[in-house]
Symmetry: C2
Subunit: 309 residues, 2 copies
Amino acid sequence: MNSNRGAVVALSGGVGGARFADGLGGVLSGDRLTVVVNTGDDFEHWGLWISPDLDTVMYTLSGEANPALGWGVRDDTGNAMEMMEKLGGETWFTLGDRDLAVHLRRTAALKSGESLSAVTRSMSRALGVECEVLPMTEAPRPTRIELRDGTRMEFQEWFVGARAQPEVSRVVFEGADEVSPEVSSAIEAAEIVLITPSNPYLSIDPILSLNGVRDLLAQKLVVAVSPIVGGKAVKGPLGAMIPALTGKPASARAVAEHYGNLIDGIVLEVGDGGAGFDIPVWETNTVMRSGDDRRRLAEETLIFAESLR
Amino acid sequence: MNSNRGAVVALSGGVGGARFADGLGGVLSGDRLTVVVNTGDDFEHWGLWISPDLDTVMYTLSGEANPALGWGVRDDTGNAMEMMEKLGGETWFTLGDRDLAVHLRRTAALKSGESLSAVTRSMSRALGVECEVLPMTEAPRPTRIELRDGTRMEFQEWFVGARAQPEVSRVVFEGADEVSPEVSSAIEAAEIVLITPSNPYLSIDPILSLNGVRDLLAQKLVVAVSPIVGGKAVKGPLGAMIPALTGKPASARAVAEHYGNLIDGIVLEVGDGGAGFDIPVWETNTVMRSGDDRRRLAEETLIFAESLR
């Protein structure tokens, strides 16, 4: 751990981003790290306000995450789900029993006028998360999936309900584009901004779509970690989305091209580099199978970023 | 089962009333029985609308009830509670994981404009309850406990939070006194109304406090089952409440006096009868330890009531 390092902001979606952020948490002191999390996947279900990416980050950083799934809480049970099924309620979205406490607490806090940032902070602290975890927005900013025929699906309806199968023609961000003031301040104060290996279209673009964020990032040293390894997404629908949205095969280069001049460097899998990158590239093993993998990748990414100053 | 019997309405609170209602369900066909349930204990907790007596009746009649406790769901787990404790949330009121599904569904239904009766019916049917279970009111009618010093406690704060220890000087019913229209119709159509062995002050009086209910009952054959056995309450705080509220020792006679000319007969424990009752009395074993006990007590009570016509 290098205590002379400046502040780092990591932009994150769910599982991949959360694991990378966990690695950063292992090599940076808590007061140096802020994880800014996509809330475009948030939705209401069973009358509860669910923030899947915030929860995945919070569970992963606190050690509460289900290690096999990457999302949800370890050793969780599905008794409420089972009863909900008996009652004829909706069960297409999995909610574990322990997990439910988080949704209940968030929903009650929001209802009583607390901000999403405040209740996220209070829950993260209670679970022992040392760094700052911030939702990208306070108000809903729902991501919609536009299909070839022009129809729009709600994100979870597409992602979970339809298993991300319908081909995406465009990703649309609805609601207010106001970034959380705490996110702006954190980016302003950051020495390095890292784009974690999350889905660029579904997890990072929602953050970039917010008013002023791209301008703030233009002032910063920004390094991305590629979520594409050997032409495939480590997890999720990105492998199919890149060809559908760009007409090009899925590759780390396509990710770099997507971010364009927003990033100053990219970390990618050994063998995924080669010609055609007009920014510095760091090749390493990017698949995070263990806690050690997460920390090593985080450390290498920070050293690479620092080398670009 | 005697299919020539007329319609029966049972007025019920929680565990004792639910067990007696379950006995009635065993000897009457579903279309002959309506259980009208106290909603004075209802309250909001974790942002959910909880109807403890409705749930106890629904769980008991569907066979879902925890047989040891009498309330809550059998084989339930407390993982949401455990997580809520970690999060620093309130855990003074026990909510099991399976149980949570019911509160979630009720809360979402009420929020979407469904009535409490409608969502209760839909959940009861889904769980296999054959008779009609009706909340006494659609709108909140909270019971408050007034103490000697004039302060008022919310019901669950007193009952669960303070373990019903602070001495009651008066029981007060707040909110609107409008009875559910379906309850009025059920009582009007009933041949017999049974007051189950629930707490008269906390479970039955809330129902009797509603506008028009006493007048409707005055037209009916009404029989009560005493919740006091050998001078003690089978369950709950009634044993201490009778002396506190009437200055007399707890007894089946005190229960009969409380209901006064509202009832036409009372069923009580062998040995609890004797002189001093100015209404017909049926002495039997009233403690319900098994399903057979419930059915036998229900059957005897019906036969006794029919004998009073």
